[in-house]
Amino acid sequence: MDFTFSEDELALREAVSRFLMVEAAPEVLREIWQEDTGRSPQLRRAIAEQGVMALSIPEAYDGLGMGDVMWSLIAQELGYYAIPDSLIDTAYVAAYLITQLPDEVAQKATWLQQIGTGELRVSIAHVEQQFVADAHLADVIFYFTADALHVLSNDAVSLVDNPSIDSSRRLFKMTPVTPLPAPILEGNAVAALYAQVNARGAIANAGQQLGLAQRMLDLSIDYVNQRKQFGKLIGSFQALKHKLADVVSAIEMTKPTLYRAAYALEHDASRAPLYVAQVVIQARDAAKLAAKHSIQAHGAMGYTWEVDLQMFIKRSHALQASWGRTSEFEHRVLDALLAEPDLADPCMTFMGLSA
């Protein structure tokens, strides 16, 4: 039992954090938000050069061979800096997806290598999903139906742009041009693969929400420590203190839940989808609480476009239903609690965490 990160993992997180602190400072973000594309090719290139795109790529394909546990830290950083890009979809989720494809899939090696170098941009779509992020820029779109996985290029789909409140997001209603190309995977394996892919998307969503919550909290602490009313720093008023205390509590109590879920995924544990559901619920709640109390801590400033807070609030709001409605995750937990009467046995916390 060693519920800690290695020094290497912490160092890598620290490196990514320091890098983003400079490269994705709020001023940079704000510029990107105001551009039509909502994207900065330079930023994405710099991130790739930093090695982030190669994190999940197996070492055989020149990647770093990291897994879900490392991503549980990196996703928080990408959330903290509100990186205006769907790069997690490519670097984490798609990279995982591709490694799971049969070796017969001819492009497998090329895709993995190109993800690692930052050349390839991937979107992932499911027939039941309404919107696809960054589909217009995607070199490859993995399109799941109930029992087939197709690879589409973005000229084989028709896209309708649906502006999000997060100006850096690009969401599209996507309709594939028919007939679809032959699937690269068929049958039961598709649903099983999608479940794994969705779990990665969902846990990354939770990780980003936690990072966003932390950022909103940090911005609020800064603000209440310099804003005075009634001759006192507003941070000295108990009502605000208690609100911010509740935010840090929610964040701190959720982190270990995130890490266990990541560990369960990395070790192919059968309960991994349950643990992912659990952290998605908690992380989204934590982020909602952080948004609500941060606006309040900022007073009227919190309602403005000028203060950085708004970008983090909007990104967090935009990600609330991405990779699945919260109610789907709640039902997953409920079903498990009913199906497995001993799930709440005090000795179960780390039971069956290996495959």
């Binding site: 649906n162 999000s164 609500k292 309040q296 009227a300 476009w305 000028e306 990600l319």
Partner: protein
């Protein structure tokens, strides 16, 4: 207790309903936080005024109908159920208007109220300053008397739609040696006066919903003062509570979104019914909106009996702002993937722009006195807890 409307009240309702059905704009006006939308709303206010529906409670000679509070509630119910345009001049009409009626001279009333009712004059409030938000008594902007004029200098902020408006009103320090609540005067200032600079502030929705107003030796006649010199705080407070608590936000304004929330529920019934808590949230929203409506009528009953309403209006402020948040948070949870879309997105929910309301609801617990201040007021003035 008699909870049926009189025939006269029913007739008034019918009359308002019919008039709105025939006269309200056939399509949704542009956002009044844009110049173009602002003017569209001004035009609509003129239509209202000409039919004497702009300020129904004001006396006839000021352009109103002398309605009582029950009729006002009825008017509001019909106005919101018709989805008629938002009231663009409400900061003037609801905050300054009653103050003028209570403290203004006859000349001031004649000069300011009819063009306010018609929205020929659009008013922006000038309460807050950069260092006087929740702590409004920390106001520093000065008005120095020189003969028959005040020379105003300083800065106001969070002035709603001030870049489009014609006039502002607020408190200014007329006694330079005074502090806190003392030595303030309530003064109105035309926004085209020399020395005024207005800088827009973008709201969450990206529009210029507020502004900072800089006063650089702006001269206004002393006739622009409402009430006595140095009595500004008392003038401002006399109407603040009741207006903010009830008139500023009629119950109908929240019942109508609850009605839309129920439509949304029915539209996505399978998803909502499958959710572990959304049905309860919908029930709670309706219950809260109903309570707020009932409480408004009940308050009117108490006022009719000669009771005074004071800190109770802070309860109202807390309730409506948190209800509005809850309605919109519930809608967002129902909308799922669509919840992040701008109202203009092709695949956004078609029948109502929930995003617009969601963003505006975020400001509810902050403006018109933060809910922290309101809870302090409730505790200290209603429950007599120590300061």
């Amino acid at each position: 207790m008699n909870l049926t409307f009189t025939p006269e009240q029913c007739a008034f309702r019918e009359q308002v309903r019919t008039w709105l059905a025939h006269n309200k704009p056939s399509k949704k006006l542009k956002s009044y936080d844009t110049k173009e939308g602002f003017e569209e709303h001004r035009a609509w206010e003129k239509v209202l005024y000409e039919a004497r529906y702009s300020m129904v409670m004001w006396p006839e000679e000021l352009g109103g109908r002398g309605c009582d509070l029950i009729e006002w509630l009825i008017f509001e119910e019909e106005y919101y159920r018709a989805d008629a345009p938002m009231r663009v001049n409400q900061n003037g009409q609801l905050l300054l208007g009653p103050t003028l009626i209570e403290f203004g001279t006859e000349a001031q009333k004649k000069r300011f109220l009819p063009p306010m009712a018609s929205s020929e004059h659009m008013w922006a409030q000038g309460w807050s300053e950069p260092n006087a938000g929740s702590d409004m008594a920390a106001i520093r902007s000065k008005a120095v008397r020189e003969g028959d004029e005040y020379i105003i200098s300083g800065q106001k902020t969070w002035s709603t739609r001030a870049i489009y408006a014609d006039w502002t009103f607020g408190l200014f320090r007329t006694d330079p040696d005074s502090s806190r609540h003392h030595g303030l005067s309530y003064i109105v200032v035309p926004l085209d006066a020399p020395g005024i600079t207005i800088r827009p502030i973008k709201a969450l929705n990206g529009k210029d919903a507020f502004a900072e107003i800089f006063f650089d030796d702006v001269r206004v006649p002393i006739d622009n003062r409402i009430g006595e010199e140095g009595q500004g705080w008392r003038v401002a407070m006399a109407t603040a509570g009741f207006e903010r608590g009830l008139l500023l936000r009629s119950p109908a304004r929240f019942m109508q979104p609850v009605k839309k929330l129920l439509e949304l529920y029915r539209h996505y019934q399978a998803q909502v019914d499958a959710d572990l808590s959304l049905r309860k949230a919908v029930v709670d929203c309706w219950n809260m909106a109903e309570s707020y409506a009932l409480s408004a009528y009940y308050t009117v009953g108490r006022l009719q009996n000669g009771e005074k309403i004071g800190a109770e209006s802070s309860i109202n402020k807390i309730i409506w702002s948190e209800l509005d948040l809850k309605i919109h948070e519930t809608a967002m949870a129902i909308l799922g993937e669509q919840a992040e879309l701008m109202g203009s997105a092709p695949h956004a929910y078609a029948d109502h722009d929930w995003m617009e309301g969601f963003l505006f609801a975020q400001a509810g617990p902050i403006y018109a006195g933060t809910n922290e201040i309101q809870r302090n007021i409730v505790a200290e003035r209603l429950l007599n807890l120590p300061r």
